[in-house]
Amino acid sequence: MSSYVKSERQLARERYRRSRAIRSAGIAGTSSLIVVVALVVGIVSSPGWQRVHETFFSWKYAKEAFPSILEGLWLNVRLLFFCGLVILAFGLVLALMRSLRGPVFFPLRALATIYTDLFRGLPVIITLLLMVYGVPALRLSGVTNDPIYLGGAALVLTYSAYVAEVFRAGIESVHPSQRAAARSLGLSWRLTMRYVVLPQAVRRVVPPLLNDMVSLQKDTGLVSIAGAVDAVYAAQIYTGQTFNYTSYVVAGLVFVVLTIPMTRLTDWVTARMNRRQSQGGVV
């Protein structure tokens, strides 16, 4: 085994694969370059380009608007983080409530079903308006009037309904034989969920969950309708002062830049989980 030396044939094969890899990379690079150049030339040579360049892509305005947008973005990030955590936890609880079996749990099941039906159906903007204007109007003592908290609560209401359905789909996708095997080992419903069903279910739903989180990240901007200054609202304020739209482009880019690492991270995590479990092979 230690005496193994690669044969001439294998060396030739590896050389061929390497040259193929380099060739494909070359082709990919060239074709990407052509597409990008064509797009840039097409846009830049359009008759309105000069004007668009000034109002949307002005470096001067971008630099000026950037600090306030970044400050606004901090609100988006905080909302995303805290709402995200609450949503994931609450969504999971809802999903578990819906997957309870037996007549005893009918009220819980029904409640969870009504909840998801209601908040998945309500447009998020309406939930938000009801929360930020409706709740303060009740004049309850001890309840905050802060639009950030109330807006965050509205996001939690809507998104946990979505996330609950994603979790439920994951739970139901785990083959019944897994449940049967776990229960046969004497594991209770709770232990079966905790150690057998959920670990498999959650892995499967990581990509759709990420989808919801990215969507949430953008919807955190909606809290600005009640006056909280987030990245989009900061951009809007700046545009209102200067009549230049560059700040919107900057805010948009900042959001994109924020989602990319998140996507790559989950891709990597899912790929690693798959590698560990699957048989492998080339197909």
Binding site: S7, R9, R13, R17, G281, V282, V283
Partner: protein, 249 residues
């Protein structure tokens, strides 16, 4: 001797630091049956998966008839179109009926007309005693029936070579017979096959050539009579003794 349908030379396969196949040679002449025996993890399945290009070899080469299929220039889909595979766990598509499972490759890959593909599928099903099952879904069939459908599916594209990977290992004992019966009749038809199996009685009966694998190497090869009658290598003797003891229990 006629030319080999499948030929492997110094095949090596490594998973991480584990050498699964180490310098394996194999020659399968046309219209013969080669049986691979050996303990679980000895490399039987990996060898079959390499022959079907489901795994890439890490050294050595495999030929299907006169073409080196392990050449990276070779189109793997083209190679697989000429090889039929039956898996241990059947691997039927649960969302397709029996007839659709069988006609999928002939229609979509080989461009056979629907009527023709279905007629041929029904004829094969009929021959294997599955005449009434064409429109059923796989999950409604017994294990033995599912595995026979899987064999029909592998045969439907008229392969040069059939690879059978422990096809009875997941079956109830009373269903093993019906599947092996099918393999017997394929041998009578002159089908070239490579079979990985734990059914020693069956191996002895159908094999023209038996290869004993252990730790990724072919420790001994010969006719069924040689290997089962008078094994030479201590590893082979030990393996066969254990199997015989297990069957006596």
């Amino acid at each position: 001797m006629s030319t080999a349908v499948l030929r492997a030379e110094s095949v090596r396969k490594v998973f991480g630091s584990h050498v699964v196949l180490d310098d394996v040679d194999l020659e399968v002449p046309a219209h013969t049956v080669t049986v691979l025996i050996g303990a679980s993890g000895s490399g039987k399945s990996t060898l079959l998966r390499c022959a079907n290009l489901l795994e890439t070899v890490d050294d050595g080469a495999i030929w299907l008839e006169d073409r080196e299929i392990t050449d990276p220039r070779e189109n793997a889909d083209r190679v697989r179109q000429r090889i039929g595979v039956v898996f241990q766990a059947y691997n039927l598509f649960p969302h397709l009926s029996v007839l659709e499972n069988i006609t999928l490759a002939p229609r979509r890959v080989h461009g056979v007309a629907r009527r023709e593909a279905e007629d041929r599928a029904r004829a094969l099903l009929d021959r294997l005693g599955l005449a009434g099952k064409a429109d059923d879904y796989p999950d409604r069939l017994s294990g033995g029936q599912q595995q026979r459908v899987a064999i029909v599916r592998a045969l439907a594209t008229d392969p040069k070579l059939l690879l059978l990977d422990e096809i009875t290992a997941a079956l109830d004992p009373e269903l093993v017979g019906e599947v092996l019966e099918v393999v017997r009749s394929l041998k009578e038809d002159g089908m070239t096959m490579v079979i990985a199996t734990h059914e020693m009685g069956f191996a002895r009966e159908v094999a023209d050539q038996v290869c004993f694998l252990a730790d990724g190497r072919v420790h001994e090869r010969g006719t069924a009579a040689e290997i089962f009658g008078a094994p030479q290598e201590p590893r082979t003797q030990q393996f066969l003794r254990r199997i015989t003891e297990a069957h006596r229990l």
